[in-house]
Symmetry: C3
Subunit: 398 residues, 3 copies
């Protein structure tokens, strides 16, 4: 199969040996080669599946999911990725467990991992918590593996934390790569990562942070746009600035949506909560001050309401490089004006035109997750891909 | 294996090519040959499993279930069918998802389907809703497949809607076929599909509707019996009348349970709610008028209570063709008088005598669901059955 | 593989033919040979998995779990065991089912079992209920299999009942066997199964009962220690006495924790509720007297609070045979003083020193469960182990 060989050849040019038996927390903790290896394996696995060739590398084994927030697409993406590789998903539903009985993270992490090859965690609600929790889990299972308690160390896949949303940003980046015909074509392209109005408040910061932290490394001209007061985490802004400087790209912040959209090759307008407010919210939650949380929520909704003009309509799209044809992105679900809400992030005309593209963007996520697992579990991924091809087992018996 | 060949030979005489890559909504949307193909493949799959031969046609892939009402037997039947064919069940628990956040059916359907081969839906609570919702789902994934978003189109299995309950009625019909020694022996046999008293109200109409809509096509003498005011959906009555006319059978409605039972070869007594009341209930629900729903519920319970004499006891059974030996059917669980309630659908003496038969009736459901999937997924089902036999992989390694 | 042969040779010396197509309720219903077969198969399956050899004996099939109490480790142990053998777990979530609608145990048990090879049940909350419920389930599926309703009889694994917790006690015993270098080395070793203080009340009796009912058969010197009023079930005390008498061991009860710890080779300190109080609680629950239950709970907590000195600290450990190095056991999660509570079962210094050992103890549980299933499902387990080795399928494709 010619297509597959192309991906294997690409992998041969990359250095990603440190991904083996490693974990995936934040994209900016990975080298450029490692990031490109994820894209390449994702496309290779998709190619095999489309050719009806089984990509099961596990005959048995569990993929554990821990969702500390509701989820549809990430839940199904993780389940799909595990299933594609031969792992059975077992959800740790904390309400059905004894975790409330004073058990430590270390203990729970070990107890669920005796036959786990992967742990996927979504924990994005409180600043300073989610990523930290994932590290606690990884430290626990690493120690348990080292001490002979676990036969294998499950690999962690960050399914969204307070800092980054790597499976989303990588799926998004892969979509841009596909749309622009190769990672090398991203250089110099302008992307507007913009805040947009939503009638709900408190949407995670991990999406804009993930985007500016990732796309700046491809030499893109990344513009972060938001009303004053909707700043993202300062540490991630520094990552974006450093990436841009090192990769010949640009990173700027503006408070003018139109300026951001002007001549943009890609627009990514999406609501998020101000980082400062989320820090306050985390403190209030820590103190159990639920009245304070309610009050904060009302203030934020009122503040949001003053920015209902941050909506993407055809007029806004016309400011971009290719007008109505410019690539419009969103992690979904979007707040569609006149459909799911009175005022929202985007008008139905813009959304409807982009629908197929948005759904294709989302379709990358299962493959990105599977690629992360594959690279953490296979010592020689190129050989494994070749072996899967040679084994030639049909996914669907025909 | 002689048995399997018999089923393959039968399939060779039937035309069911339109089932490939198609969906299963209502039995009366399928041809007689298609219905018989379902029975035949169900029995073929059972034969293979009983011979300890694996029937996995999928090496990986997901079977999505969406249950909008509590369920035990249908949930386990769907899980069993998927497992039998090699698909892993992933339940879309709408409470754990972000569907409430204004997401459209089209979007959710696509987002969960990237690696889904089947979607099973139970949505039977509101008149005019469930079947419509299933069509929305199918239209969405069909479009997404056509537009290149989905690599495969998952097939829909209607696990019960407001109109029909095809996996139930086909499992029931297959039981009758087994009991009477062949589909050709159903001609002229009388079945009493009768209302019976239950202390609860609002039981789905899809069971009686499914039965009269299906069994009339085998040339049976189908009698629908219920107290005045417990009419079923008029459209389905018309289907039953048309079927009877076309197939040399009979379809009559009576308000006298004894008349229905007289000389019946099969009795199927079961509670349901009046269609008219369910329409009112749907309207009240749409308006959010929960006081109105409570009031309606009380009225219906009071109305039900005037019909406590609609119970199957030995006296009633003695009116039938074979007396106490006549085939008594129920989709389970039944309201058993003196066991689960004071007054109910059936006395313990009748139920206990029929128990094994009732459980065998239920045992068909996983195979019926698996057959629906098999026929939608295999281009050449006869060849696939032969290939499974030749592959000869043990289900349980011995 | 030399290691595996050792286990096969051991099995050749044991008589466990009655385990085939049987169930696992209580350890004392099994012979010594049968118990040793469980240990041996557990270690054999672990050996195969550690050598990356697949132990799937099922190509498809369901493992049903019914948890009538929250659970993390038992839930994951059961899921791991099923996955290891090739069964897909399907949880019967009674809240999502129609069981409340007056369905009998017999009916539910049959309806979920059409393609079930195993049913694992945890039901430990009410005295006289859990074990009885498991027998009802087994009687139902046995009858359904005999009557031709079920193609196979699922085997029951008791995941904890009101009387015994066999998967826990066998995992514990296997840990002791590993630590002492063989089952033959347990003879004469002293174990202190001791009550310890916990700020919660009502912890299951099945752990201490399981331990005294099992370890007395290896000729150990088993001391059960608890404050007056915290008696365990009398029937199990009789089992322990009988076992000790028959196997050259000792079984004594003391109300002095120090006396129990003195010169002990193993200590197992853990909170539990008084049997008498649990009987009263079951009666109150049966009457729906929730005020009475609240009152009882307060009384028990007050009674517990008078025994806060029943805590394992270094001073206590120094009384034992090997001082701080003596084997400390617990089923987890433990109430760790100063960590998860102010006063608890054990101090952090004792717990932290034992952590790795405790986690290894827990790691036996998936293998114990898998061994129970294996022995119930394989007619010739030695041949099956050899065949798995010869098949040599990699668990993780490398």
């Amino acid at each position: 199969m010619k297509d597959l060989q192309k991906f294997i050849d690409k992998l041969d040019t990359l250095d990603f040996k440190d991904m083996y038996e490693n974990d995936f927390f934040l994209t900016w903790e990975k080298t450029d080669d490692e990031i490109e290896a994820v894209f390449t394996v994702a496309d290779a696995l998709r190619t095999l599946r489309e050719k009806n060739i089984s990509t099961k590398i596990f005959d048995s084994g569990l993929g554990i999911s821990i969702f500390r927030d509701t989820s549809t697409r990430t839940r199904f993406s993780f389940a799909s990725a595990c299933n594609l590789l031969g792992l059975e998903v077992q959800d740790l539903d904390e309400k059905k467990s004894q975790i409330a009985h004073g058990e430590t993270v270390r203990e729970t992490a070990t107890m669920i991992s005796f036959m786990a090859d992967v742990i996927g965690i979504r924990d994005d609600m409180y600043i300073g918590k989610g990523n930290k929790y994932m590290h606690e889990v990884v430290n626990s299972v690493t120690e348990a593996n080292r001490d002979g308690v676990l036969e294998q160390k499950p690999t962690l896949v960050n399914l969204q934390c307070d800092i980054d949303h790597p499976t989303q940003s990588l799926a998004d980046a892969l979509h841009i790569i596909h749309e622009f015909g190769g990672i090398e074509n991203l250089k110099g392209k302008k992307i507007a990562m913009s805040w947009a109005y939503s009638p709900s408040y408190g949407k995670p910061l991990s999406v804009p942070q993930g985007i500016i932290g990732l796309l700046t490394r491809f030499g893109m001209d990344v513009v972060l746009a938001h009303p004053e007061g909707y700043e993202v985490m300062d540490d991630v802004v520094k990552v974006a600035e450093k990436n841009a400087a090192e990769n010949g790209g640009k990173f700027t912040i503006t408070h003018d949506m139109k300026e951001a959209f002007k001549d943009a090759d890609v627009v990514y307008p999406k609501s998020w909560a101000p980082f400062g407010a989320m820090e306050i919210r985390t403190d209030l939650y820590g103190k159990g001050d639920f009245d304070g949380i309610d009050k904060l929520e009302k203030e934020l909704l009122a503040q949001n309401a003053t920015h209902q003009d941050w909506v993407v309509d055809d007029e806004m799209m016309k400011l971009t490089k290719n007008g109505l044809d410019t690539l419009y992105m969103h992690p979904l679900p979007a707040d569609i004006q006149g459909v799911s809400c009175e005022h929202g992030e985007v008008t139905a005309e813009v959304f409807d035109r982009a629908r197929d593209s948005l759904y294709k963007e989302a379709s990358n996520k299962p493959y990105i997750i599977a690629a992360m697992i594959f690279l953490a579990k296979q010592k020689d991924p190129q050989a494994a891909l070749k072996a899967l091809l040679e084994r030639g087992k049909a996914r669907h018996f025909e």
